[in-house]
Symmetry: C2
Subunit: 429 residues, 2 copies
């Protein structure tokens, strides 16, 4: 199958990239020395792109280039190169609102769908660190800042309506990436679909129950409608622990190619979902039963700290920078008005928390029953153990999505996670 690409596009290999970068002063200057001496390796382990690490005598550069198809599936699933345009636009804005929490951009080439940016070293993908049991003391603080700042400052609470509509129009073209989410997260895990897979036969009864769960299918459909129609803020769109690179001292969020103007809870939910999945996965990574208990406690405390930090920071931003067209200040200028607005802000956060839990649940379920799984669970070799962890995650997710009001706080969620982690599900097979 031959894919159409725009004139001027070519997928780089290490050698062609070397010649290309040599002509980009902003990049060549970072690397230093002669182009012939640069070390270039392709390291893309994601699903969508080529990723090169380039090292020279003076420093390193990461180069990400979009491929015209979904790498995970192959050329049979074409994907528009324009996603690099959306990624670049989102990354630029995120960097402005959450300085120091994204990689610095050195160079962008629209024709090549290529972004050259800061090489993050010795950062690793957070998911790998969590599987290894590494504690990241700054993670919850940094990621709650990232989410609060990027979501708040692109919302109606901070922007004038016309500015927000410009953003809506600017991201409206990212339909193919949204379609991946719509299909793989909000639809296929709840039906018989060729791309689904799960830990069979152990998880068969759980997968079957979800396919027959009318309340759950209504709940996921309501979330899908919200995803497609609620332009609340510029969301990252894929904010899982594979999109975070960090050390114990430094946290960066990468890969916002799924960005568009969508519901805020989709981002906050993604963070929580991936922490909870990792929590349940620990049974498959500990050397002896209980060996990872302390790590488990850290994962749940990071989950709580992320949401509570996000909530607090978002509220503070609103109080101090509520210059947008929503909840206009003149309506709430009196002392009574200020109190009423303060109460409404709490109610707003409660609604956002309910959205967060729904989207978190959707993300958990898709990683267990859908096409793309997480290595937190996939790397558990013992399939019974893996299925046990997955059944626990599915059970929590189902409850979070359908009985959302039973979880008024993040503490209620982590407490239920702990209870379910002690539960022995009745597996199939």
């Amino acid at each position: 199958m031959t894919l159409e690409v725009p004139p001027g596009y070519r997928a780089h290999d290490a050698q062609s990239l070397r010649f290309y970068l040599a002509d980009i002063p902003a990049v060549a200057g970072k690397l230093g020395g002669a182009a012939a001496d640069w070390a270039i390796e392709e390291v893309g382990d994601g699903n969508l792109n080529l990723v090169f690490k380039v090292r020279g005598p003076d420093g390193g550069v990461a180069v990400k280039q979009a491929l015209p198809y979904l790498r995970l599936v192959g050329e049979a699933w074409p994907l528009p190169l324009e996603r690099a345009h959306f990624e670049h636009m989102a990354l630029s804005r995120e960097g402005r609102y959450a300085p120091g929490l994204t990689p610095e951009i050195y160079h962008y080439d629209e024709t090549l769908a290529l972004i050259a940016m800061e090489l993050l070293e010795p950062h690793i993908i957070m998911r790998h660190g969590m599987i290894a049991g590494t504690v990241y003391p700054k993670f919850a603080g940094d990621l709650s800042t990232f989410a609060a700042n990027t979501l708040f400052f692109t919302s109606d609470l901070a922007l004038k309506a016309a500015e927000k509509k410009e953003l809506i129009a600017a991201f409206a073209g990212n339909t193919e990436l949204c379609r991946i989410t719509e299909e793989l997260i909000f639809t296929e895990p709840y039906m018989v679909a060729e791309r689904n897979r799960w830990t069979a036969p152990y998880l068969d009864p759980f997968a079957a129950a979800i396919r027959e769960d009318g309340d759950l299918k209504v709940a996921i459909s309501r979330l899908k409608v919200k995803f497609m129609g609620s332009a609340e803020a510029m969301i990252h769109g894929d904010l899982h622990t594979g999109s975070v690179m960090l050390t114990e001292e430094d946290t960066r969020v990468i890969d916002p190619e799924f960005a568009f103007m969508g519901p805020m809870g989709f981002d906050t939910g993604a963070v929580i979902a991936n922490l909870l999945l990792n929590y349940f996965s620990q049974v498959g990574h500990e050397e002896a039963p209980g060996a990872r208990d302390e790590y488990r406690r850290w994962v749940l405390s990071a989950t709580r700290d992320f949401w509570n930090g996000f909530r607090e920071k978002f509220l503070r931003l609103w109080e101090e920078n509520g210059t947008g067209d929503a909840y206009p200040a003149p309506l709430f200028a009196s002392p009574e008005g200020k109190l009423r607005l303060a109460a409404e802000r709490e109610a707003y956060m409660a609604r956002l928390f309910a959205d967060t839990l729904g989207f978190a649940a959707a993300k958990m379920i898709r990683r267990i029953l859908g096409l793309a799984h997480n290595i937190d669970l996939e790397h558990i070799a013992d399939e019974r153990v893996r299925a046990t962890a997955e059944a626990r995650g599915l059970t929590l997710a189902r409850d979070m999505m359908v009985n959302t009001e039973a979880y008024p706080s993040i503490e209620a969620v982590t407490a239920q996670a702990e209870r379910l982690n002690a539960w022995e599900p009745k597996l199939g097979g």
Copy 2:
């Protein structure tokens, strides 16, 4: 003040329009005869545009041309001419989804911001007819069809997500018209604002109570957020009885220049608001107390028939044409699934009804306390009588917006309207 207009734009007068139209075969052919013999009159009584009626020996044409400022206020309030582009786009789509319920378009000139369309005769603006006490037997049926078809077919229930995102982008530029709504409907009536006016001093205590009503200000702010961020469907954006031209046999919806991708309840609410305002205004138009009782009953029955008809038609469209990305059919394919989806459709309509009541209330309040009033009320010469009608409308609207759950059906709304119409409010002054 000189306003900037694009090259090629000029506001027509009758004489220049004659020369212009003579060169447009689609228009000249409709009119027939020689251009010199056409009768042209400017009849614009709206706020935003020039409107010409052109008559020739073979037929008539209506010509609408946008002015670069808000006519109601004058050149101090510039308005972009591009609204004609959005109007033309919306009118074309409405005509496709609701055939026979909009004027036929003969000619569109983007540079002149000018649309030539079917001259509707002997149609009159519905508001005028309702003030005169004219019953329109086809109105509720036609307008419920218009609303159901235009909203359903531009929603996620009918469209693929990519098609809907194209519509979102296409209408995202209509920010100035949206801003009028955001300011005049969702903000100013609830605060001290220069542009507000009301029937003082009689209505002073009611206006003051609304400015101090914290629950109401939170409710209107939530509706404003929904207006700015919920891209549910292509809405007309100004669907009041001044945007309907009709006879007893034929109904047409005109003037969709406020169109954008917004919440459906804003359109359905506008219809209901304007019927209710007219209902309360009848006390000022009847020749003797009770003389308009039969007409009052018709207005309320039309209100009920509009909503119930809309609800039924929208549900039927969903059942028969639910091909969009929302609530995907494969999720609800089993007999149990079909039942569950049927129940969810009812729940969806209940949520849409709650939105409708909130937006209807917002529309009622702005017409009594804000800048732009309705002649239903303004034409009541006796200010005490007018204020009495307005106080009743305000009281119903406040309750609909804050205690929405007390109105589970349109019958509950019209029953409360009847109760309030017998209530003597304590006026100021």
